[in-house]
């Protein structure tokens, strides 16, 4: 591991002042792992673990403000989250292990990096190593013709097909969260849909953060009255595994018809995948299996599977149909 300067920031201002050329470290569950693999080689770490961003507080508008340092366990087990945003609690508890959830933070999970085996290779993107445009732009993508059973089918490009690994982010996409950041140029709010970037020709740029910006909070909007929310995750084994396909649905049914619906999917996209197509196919429709299937077809319409991950397309459709049934039951 490359050595680094280590400093502990006592306040947000001090963290921002020290941020130049360094990385913030919170739970460390992604960053330390990738530093050991030589994937991350920061010259400095700014430890933000003592910043006062560890609260979950109601907002005046009826929403919920989650501090960036709130641990995944605490968020998933928070009474307000379990009651009003069940999809978020379920998504978090379906991911990683209890130990990792005790460490990982809300802000850190937004920045979780892909599990693509080529991306994680210590020598990827270097001469003699596998090509990885995320590690070193222009070196190619070994996954395209390589081992890609777990890779994405939506949002891919000819430069990168790496899957976004987070469960929490899928729920937040369906909940239409907002991400608050603070940086050298001040504070700003980034809508969830604009935070993660598609790989396109620049897979090394994964999100909308500017250099030196720190995630401070995630705001959830006021819960939808009378809506039900569900997260369903399908994977190779029943726990402690990444999604092959997952779905987060928030739905409100009145008189047997869908009056509000938000759909996001995980395990199949290069970013947490909000499906406006599925939502459009469902709005105002009667609650029945045929409409769910139509919505699932719409969600996967643009899927571009490769040899070994083609099974994900139908798996994802069925995952969404099942989740819609649960959310409208």
């Amino acid at each position: 591991m490359q050595t680094f300067n280590y400093i502990k920031a006592a306040s947000i201002d001090k963290a921002l002042g020290a941020a130049n050329g360094t990385k913030f470290i919170a739970g460390g569950t992604t960053l330390v792992d990738l530093m050991k693999l030589n994937v991350e080689t920061p010259s400095g770490l700014v430890d933000i673990n003592i910043l006062p961003l560890d609260k979950i507080e109601p907002l005046p508008n009826g929403g919920l403000r989650i501090g960036a340092m709130v641990r995944n366990s605490d968020l998933a087990w928070n009474a307000d989250v379990q009651k009003n945003y069940a999809v978020l609690s379920e998504a978090i508890l379906s991911g990683a292990s209890p130990q990792l959830r005790n460490m990982a933070t809300t802000g850190g999970n937004l920045l979780q990096r892909t599990r693509c085996a080529y991306f994680r290779e210590p020598s990827a993107g270097t001469p003699g190593g596998y090509g990885c445009n995320k590690r070193a732009p222009g070196t190619g993508c070994a996954a395209l013709e390589g081992f890609h059973r777990t890779h994405a089918v939506l949002g891919t490009s000819d430069q990168c097909i790496a899957t976004h690994p987070s469960d929490m982010c899928v729920a937040m996409a369906a909940l239409e969260a907002a991400i608050l950041v603070e940086g050298p140029k001040g504070k700003r709010t980034i809508p969830f849909a604009d935070f993660h970037k598609l790989p396109s020709a620049t897979p090394h740029i994964e999100n909308a953060l500017e250099p030196g910006e720190l995630i401070t909070y995630v705001d959830l909007p006021k819960p939808i009255d009378g809506a039900k929310s569900v997260y369903l995750k399908l994977r190779d084994r029943a726990s402690y595994e990444f999604a092959l396909a997952s779905a987060a649905v928030v739905a409100k049914v009145e008189g047997g018809h869908i009056r509000y619906v938000r759909v996001a999917m995980g395990g199949i996209g290069t970013k947490p995948w909000r499906s406006h197509e599925a939502e459009a196919a469902l709005m105002g429709k009667a609650v029945d299996a045929a409409h769910f299937r139509t919505a699932a077809e719409a969600a996967l319409k643009d899927a571009k599977p490769r040899t070994d991950n083609a099974f994900k397309v139908e798996l994802a459709r069925r995952c969404l149909v099942r989740t819609l049934k649960l959310a409208t039951a």
Partner: protein, 240 residues
């Protein structure tokens, strides 16, 4: 975290330039965990002076040349290591304070517990947060000690398997693992027990299925899972 496809892939990878030259991959490099030679704190900033006047002016600008001079892959020379300042790092483990002198910031909590403090009950399995062998408690909550740096834990209350119980005075969970034969080779056992003790305080459901999910972060290669669940079930019942 435990990505089976990735492990398969890792075993299949052809030799790269790096490892064909006989060098260790970066994740296999050993950190020098012996006490570092004390040296004059010339030009360094202490933690205290840093925290009170961070202001970005001095610290990073002053320290940057040290980092740039260090080769990117090889372990850095000792004098580039403890850039946290000249203050000694101390950790509180099992109720006892350990002054560790200056500590390489790259030292994980796991390596520090084992190699510096010589509490070797905590085991290194995968070293990547996938197996749970390194599970310890920090402020009463279970974590993977391989995925966190020791310098991040000054002031925290760290508990290892050595702090739970002792021969003749076992923690009930340790006794239950013995009674139910909740191990075979024993390598994962300290991590299993640390996880099992922590879950007693977590809001998980009452069933065996809940125990299994709550223990999912601890892998047992011998497959003692049935007996591990029996041990945890017994202690939960005693405490109910």
């Amino acid at each position: 975290m435990a990505d089976s496809s990735e492990l398969r892939f890792k075993n299949l990878r052809p030799p790269t330039q790096q490892n064909s030259a006989g060098e260790l991959a970066p994740d296999q490099q050993q950190l020098d965990l012996e006490p570092l030679t004390p040296e004059e704190p010339k030009g360094r900033f202490s933690r205290r002076s840093f925290l009170s006047g961070l202001g970005a002016t001095g610290f990073l600008a002053g320290a940057a040349p040290l980092v740039q001079a260090a080769p990117s892959v090889e372990p850095a020379p000792a004098d580039a290591a403890a850039v946290d300042g000249s203050d000694a790092v101390s950790l509180r483990v099992n109720g006892k304070e350990y002054n560790l002198g200056r500590l390489d910031p790259r030292a994980t909590l796991l390596d520090t517990l084992r190699e510096r403090i010589h509490l070797t009950g905590t085991k290194k399995g995968c070293d990547h947060g996938q197996c749970g062998a390194c599970t310890v408690h920090i402020n009463g909550r279970r974590v993977n000690s391989c995925l966190t740096f020791a310098v991040m834990h000054e002031g925290d209350e760290i508990t290892t398997i050595e702090g739970l119980g002792r021969p003749g005075n076992l923690h009930p969970m340790q006794a239950a693992f013995v009674e139910h034969d909740g191990y075979q080779c024993g390598y994962c056992t300290s991590g299993q027990i640390m996880s099992a003790v922590a879950l007693l305080k977590e809001p998980i459901g009452p069933s065996d299925e809940d125990i299994k999910h709550a223990m999912a972060g601890n892998i047992c290669r011998c497959g003692a899972y049935t007996n591990i669940v029996a041990a945890v079930r017994q202690v939960r019942a005693e405490r109910a």
